[in-house]
């Protein structure tokens, strides 16, 4: 359903800062897969997601979604099918607007943003029920500006908003990295639940190896713009944190550090 074919990407070409990241990078994700992506800093995880979302243009190569070549589409055009939650909790909501306003905004995705009423009061009960599931007490704070919420609360809200209109593909880029361990676990549990219930194909970059072990149907490890490990199914289930760490260490030794 998602194909990255022969992707090449370099930054700052022709300067001393030149960085050749992807050379013939390929990735094929099947419908319904929940892919956990791990890898060292600078291995290209974020750039790979940005190429999928259209925030970064590859030098060459193609991106296919549901068999359709979307390489030339702009980020906001791709957003019709692709949803995204970022590492920074403030990027998923509009801070000066209330929870209710934010949810109404997200609920209207795919439709026109015209001169009809912005607040979707008819769906208030539905929004409330969604918030109740979080167990964060947000259902009683629907008139609060999201800028006043904690990182964990905002991230949980961002996830609900991103998946309110079921996307074809969900991109999560270290979406729990900025949170304390407890909020991090809450958001991760919510992620698993939403992804399973709505059967959304998902790419999740995570810094947390435990999450890569516990969640997802497929795990990918990246290193210096390449994929060094790609396991799924039974094989993934048997992989332990130590197995991941071993590969990590081997890679580091190869690099000589």
């Amino acid at each position: 359903m998602l194909e990255l074919n022969n992707i090449y990407k370099s930054f700052n070409v022709g300067t001393i800062d030149e960085k050749i990241l992807f050379q013939n990078f390929n990735l094929n994700v099947k419908n319904g897969e929940f892919v956990a992506i791990v890898g060292s800093n600078g291995s290209g995880k974020t750039t790979a997601l940005n190429i999928v979302s259209g925030d970064v243009k590859p030098d060459s190569g193609s991106v296919l979604l549901d068999g359709k070549n979307i390489t030339k589409q702009k980020n906001y055009q791709r957003a019709a099918k692709i949803a995204r939650v970022f590492q920074n909790p403030s990027m998923g909501t509009s801070p000066s607007m209330t929870i209710m306003e934010n949810m109404s905004l997200a609920d209207n995705k795919g439709k026109r943003y015209d001169l009809t009423k912005g607040l979707n009061t008819k769906r208030r009960d539905f929004y409330r029920s969604q918030l109740e599931l979080l167990g964060m007490g947000l259902e009683n704070r629907m008139e609060t500006q999201t800028g006043a919420l904690s990182g964990g609360q905002r991230q949980a809200l961002a996830l609900i908003m991103a998946t309110m209109k079921t996307p074809t593909l969900l991109l999560l880029d270290e979406h729990t990295a900025a949170l304390d361990p407890k909020s991090s676990d809450i958001v991760m549990t919510l992620t698993e639940k939403v992804v399973k219930e709505k059967n959304i194909t998902t790419l999740m970059v995570t810094h947390n190896l435990r999450y890569a072990v516990e969640y997802g149907t497929r795990a990918i490890m990246m290193h210096e713009g390449g994929i060094v490990l790609d396991i799924s199914g039974e094989k993934k289930k048997q992989q332990s944190i130590n197995d991941y760490l071993k590969i990590f260490n081997e890679i580091s030794i190869e690099c000589g550090n």
Partner: protein
Amino acid sequence: MPILIGILEQGAIYGIMALGIYISYKILNFPDLTVDGTFPLGAAISAALVTRGVNPWVCLLCAIIAGALAGSITGILHIKCKIKDLLSGILVMTGLYSINYRIVGMPNMFLMQKPTIFGGIRFPKALFPFRYIIVLFVIVLFVKILLDLYLRTKSGFLLKSVGDNEGLVVTLGKNPGTVKIIGLSIANALVSLSGALYCQRAMQFDISSGTGTMVMGLAAVIIGTTLFRKIRFMNVTTGVILGMIIYKACITAAISSGLRSSDTKLVVTVLFLLTMLLNSVMNKSEGGRKNA
């Protein structure tokens, strides 16, 4: 009494301008200097059309359209040509100077006995001295309510979120650039309307009447949003208009205390700095309480 009415009249006229700055500066986070050109643009169109016998209300409408056009050009320069926000505004403002001159054909002009929006309405004798302020307040109220209503629509929600978090608009599948261009059009339409009203009230056009528009509007927005933040039931837009009235009162007080009218621009600057000071003091005391 006449002084008070003068302040209220000015507050109403320039309050509409401040609402425009509220959209560009506060909502869109865009320091838009186009306004120094769109205020006299509205005045120029009003002057040129009124003297040619066009219905004064139609003149206002034309000013609104022209202002929207100027705002969208600034937006297009910024979004499509990737020119910095400040520079885009300055470019359009500079260009408008010549355009405004062309529209009127001279640097200043008096409307003499031409009919304006204030002349067309019959007032009872008792209210006649207040005819300007009544008409202006009805207009400013109408604009304010219209803007409030717009900000509650889906389109208005998108406008608010684009200044807040552009990335969110992208994830909603909308082009944030387009939303910004629309926002700048609305902002400059209001500023141009304000200029057109000023022209019909003062019965004159002056090519340099736009100098300092941005600074004046910004001061009113900051006064309005900081001073009245605590009052729950009051809309921000009401605060902005009241902010402009307070601002005009301060200017009037400064001038009547013996300064010359040529000192106004300096007073404007000092007042602006005082407002910023007030803003940071209020923010600090609030932040302190939050942290405590």
